[in-house]
Amino acid sequence: MEIEELKSAWAQYDKKLTQNLKLNEELLRKMNLEKSRKEMNTPLTYEIISIIIGVIFLLFIGSATIRYSNEIKFLLPGVITSVIVAIWVFNSFSKIRLLSNIDYYYSSIVELQKSINTFNQKYQKYKKFELYSIPIFAISAFPILGIAMRNFDIYDHPIRFIIGIVISFILGYPGTIWIYKNLYDKKIRNTSKFLNDLSRFEKEE
């Protein structure tokens, strides 16, 4: 069969669809269209909330670290906690920047798929940092939060602190590594592969 014949069969098929397809207007109206427009900015809202909470936390930890800066046992955890939270906040800013660069309405397919998949790739890498930094965050935040919020010095209770460290490392790391491997690793590989396919599709002439 020649290509032109196939195209003409497709055109005939299109005509038959025109005669036989029906649009269920009632169902379309029922789709809660107004609500869906509001839901569009959910990832953006999530990142904005994360930044606000992160900045408030950073200010609190920062001021506590300065307050106890003469004691290295509080200064060091305070600095580590602040750095981790600052990186989380920075990542949220980067995600917002990437999200706002995506033009859903007027981008071509290659352009939009590239933007979406670049965002996904970065998102998954940020997630890796977030997951891997949780146990260190827990260990470093404990002394500085304890002293700043309840005037509780964890170093006076070394057994509790050691148990906390052990739990964070022994349970925290295998847990986060497992979560990352199972939830994100495969996604990163797929996203990278698709980005390569898109580049090839764009260049092939």
């Binding site: 196939l6 195209k7 397809l21 649009l23 698709f194 002439e205």
Partner: protein, 163 residues
């Protein structure tokens, strides 16, 4: 008012949406979800349409982009927005069944085996779009479109002569 206008646009372009859903989802349950996702995305961007491009180009872009993202998404059924368990665009009761049309069934089978970008390309080609429009929707050069079409036509010809 805006909703009425939207419904009328969808009515005029339901063939296009139906064919895209059929090409990207062989499973009827997924197809219903994709159809609703495309309609939602079209509705979400409807107020942004300013006539800079042809209406059909705009619909192709959004529908194909949604289909590609949907096709690539692992959690197809987890979208909370999708709530209606029925097709919005469907064939009437005294039905024409595309599967009974041998050439169309074979074409769909051919399309099913293509990757997501080539699927978009062949659909645009079969719907008789100009190379310039195809290049605009896809975001590649016209020369690139021509080369790809030539390659796909060759495979298509081989496959149809084998059957």
């Amino acid at each position: 008012m805006e909703k009425d206008k939207f419904i009328s646009v969808i009515k005029d372009n339901q063939n296009l949406i139906y064919k895209i859903c059929y090409s990207y989802c062989s499973n009827s349950e997924n197809r219903k979800d994709l159809e609703q996702e495309i309609l939602l995305q079209l509705w979400n961007s409807f107020s942004k349409f300013d006539g800079r491009v042809k209406l059909s180009t705009w619909i192709y872009r959004i529908a194909l982009n949604t289909a590609i993202s949907f096709y690539r998404n692992d959690s197809k059924h987890s979208d909370k927005k999708i709530s209606i368990d029925a097709s919005i665009i469907s064939l009437s009761d005294f039905e024409y069944v595309p599967e009974q049309d041998e050439n169309i069934a074979m074409l769909y089978q051919f399309i099913e085996n293509l990757n997501e970008m080539d699927k978009a390309l062949i659909l645009l080609y079969l719907d008789d779009n100009k190379q310039k429009d195809m290049a605009e929707v896809l975001g590649i050069s016209e020369t690139n479109v021509a080369t790809k079409i030539c390659r796909i036509k060759k495979i298509l010809k081989e496959q149809f002569s084998n059957n």
